[in-house]
Symmetry: C2
Subunit: 420 residues, 2 copies
């Protein structure tokens, strides 16, 4: 049987493996985590609304009943295109007949001095845990020793006004509210600030302008200091310096500024790369000169389709669709059929701003905002969340969080275990 | 109002605070974790049956509606009995009129060479997470590179045949079974071993002899290599050396060998200490010469009651009862009444061996073993688990784990994030 190696168990890699299941190919899915991360909900983990396990799902459980799909726990270091092998960090080499590179992207700091060291990114589950622990520890410190903070209370800066930044800023003000109102933390809600910095002239750049305005207005109504046309020049342990020289002292600088493929395995492939370091692809998503290698998801400059020069955005939808496309092309090649060009079916965009406030801009139908948009967002995320049990647990948590049950939200820093 | 400082948010400290709530005393509850840990279920976290958050509960949520109870996040370093202050690691000093020391115990390695460094204890939530990650990583490594293991499969050694050791050994064989059967890990179940070492001549020493025999037999039937009268002489990175010179190569040595008060804050009090380093107490649980200071739970040699020379065991029941007793004595003192002697009401003992197998030795009624004992154990733990939502989530997880639902158990090592 043909051996297919899929590197990466994100949305793209999982989608490839799923669509190869049941067909006569032997699939090895490699990832250095033994779980899939549901990235769209990471900001909820970072703000203590969900637990890490609510947004992570073991890969072995997903494919437990698929005999042709094997999971291999390990970090892929490099690909030898000539020898058709993938080298793993533990010394093993996996041979392949077909390869699917679904290694995703990584946080992009865009050469802002100090950002890689001092800003807290929100891209992996580890990022989300670290950020959550830091934020909760800051709140406890502000309760115990307000004199340690400028103005007696912490300021949180979020860099980047895309979906992640908007969601993070919205969830942070909710967390602050709950900390003061329910958990009786002695911090002054009027002095504790959340600042959202965006270099461009509007939030949610990919959305309609009305949605951008709605997002900015809603965040401001909830107490977020939204600053547009405000690039960050430097990040230090004490805060952020803006391009105009203004200094923002901050307890945490959250980095939601964007992603890059630089530094990932995909970047080591000997092929041209485009914007954000993404690998340039043939229309069928294969590598030029290597029809046996496909690149899917965030790692590739996935073409929108015939005649559309621009690449697709780096979102879950594109990852899932491109992963499925690669699987189909592998099966077509096996059947001796020619491959087909990828075409993106844009189903719309969604971003949540907080409780009862979201923007759902679907391809068909009206733009939903407010509670309706939020319910649409909730429903869609629950449908896509992997595993019935995970959905159930997440639902219980949300029910508590949003319907305001007496026990209040969980503010566990079960992860902060180091002696301090 | 009188200021009461309670150090420690374990069973004993929580119990004290709960019983002081609503009374005219200003309580400050100090802990270096902002959560309470439900220790009896840590072995489930260590074997991936439950998530860390399922057995941890934020202290602020517990007392969110009690205006007289304040939580202070911080590590108590020492007590100045003369000045009546508690020094915290962040430099603050808390003044008190009455003090309750509920600092618990810590893992006791009993001078076994190498144990503190190489054995993996199971006493705190951090221990459970570390152990779980290590065990799951071993299983993945055995799947990927069986040649790295002696005999082609890992051996897990559990030291200590008390309740923790018995529960851990039982849960480990269940995890192995599930890993092979459900997750299709390519490890040979006949070669993967769980060895339970006990220095004494029976398991569950505090139980009736019939229960000890039942536990040993059940574990053996499930594949555990139970060795009685087998003390450990040394632990290394490669395994354990027994007192008779036998060498056991092991992927992990789990330490369930006991606890000590040595090295904790309670041990720094200028008072005599008994077995296990426990602080010697007056009959009312106060410190000799310091009627304003009480020691409760595992930290104290809690007297069984008038006429009983032996101290109580270090179990949750004693912690809760002694915490409540200290609260009552504080209120009696305030009311100008004399204090009363503590008397332990032993409600019985319980230990689970695994699915459908437990021993429940209640004070009144018959000894329950097997499925009945297991259901009693399940019910009691759910009742005592703090918070309705936690109970609900734990119930969902158990339902999946024990009733064998199609999606199988979660084997997430969401915590293993370090590059490997």
């Amino acid at each position: 049987m043909e051996r297919v190696v899929v590197i990466g168990a994100g949305f793209a890699g999982l989608s490839t493996a799923r669509h190869l299941a049941g067909h006569p190919v032997q699939v090895t899915l490699v990832d250095h985590h033994n779980f899939h991360t549901f990235q769209p909900l990471l900001y909820q983990v970072a703000t203590a609304g969900l637990e890490p396990a609510d947004v992570a799902y073991p890969v072995r459980t997903i494919f437990g009943r698929e005999p042709t799909i094997t999971f291999r726990h390990g970090r892929a270091l490099s690909v030898d295109l000539a020898a058709r092998t993938v080298a793993l960090a533990d010394g093993a080499a996996l041979e392949y007949d077909r390869l699917v590179v679904a290694t995703g992207a990584t946080t992009g700091f865009f050469a802002v001095p100090g950002a890689p060291r001092h800003a807290l990114p929100l891209y992996t589950l580890a990022d989300a845990r670290r950020l959550r622990n830091h934020v909760l520890a800051c709140l406890e410190a502000a309760d115990a020793r307000p004199e340690d903070f400028d103005g007696g209370a912490p300021t949180f800066v979020v860099v980047g006004g895309g979906a992640t930044g908007v969601e993070m800023a919205g969830a942070l003000v909710e967390l602050l509210d709950v900390s003061v109102r329910r958990d009786r933390l002695r911090i002054d809600p009027d002095r504790t600030r959340v600042v959202l910095l965006e270099a461009g002239d509007r939030l949610l750049a990919g959305f309609e302008e009305d949605s951008s305005r709605y997002a900015a207005q809603t965040l401001r109504d909830r107490g977020v200091d939204v600053r547009l046309r405000t690039p960050v020049a430097e990040v230090t342990a004490e805060g952020a310096r803006l391009a105009d020289g203004t200094w923002l002292r901050a307890a945490a600088v959250v980095w939601a500024g964007g992603v890059t493929v630089d530094g990932t395995l995909a970047a080591s492939l000997p092929t041209p790369r485009g914007r954000g370091g993404r690998v340039t692809l043939e229309p069928d998503l294969s590598l030029a000169g290597h029809p046996e290698v496909f690149v899917v998801g965030d790692a590739g400059a996935v073409p929108r389709g015939p005649g559309a020069p621009e690449a697709c955005p780096q979102v879950a939808q594109v990852a899932m669709q491109s992963g499925k496309h690669a699987a189909r092309q592998i099966l077509r090649r096996q059947a001796g059929e020619p491959t087909t060009a990828f075409a993106y079916h844009d189903k719309g965009l969604m971003a949540t701003i907080g409780r009862h406030a979201a923007v759902a801009q679907l391809r068909r139908g009206p733009v939903l905002r407010g509670t309706l948009g939020w319910l649409a967002w909730l429903g869609l995320h629950l449908v896509y969340l992997i595993g019935f049990r995970n959905r159930l647990v997440v639902l219980v948590n949300w029910w508590w969080r949003y319907l305001d049950w007496p026990s209040g939200p969980r503010l566990i820093v079960a992860d902060v275990e180091a002696d301090r």
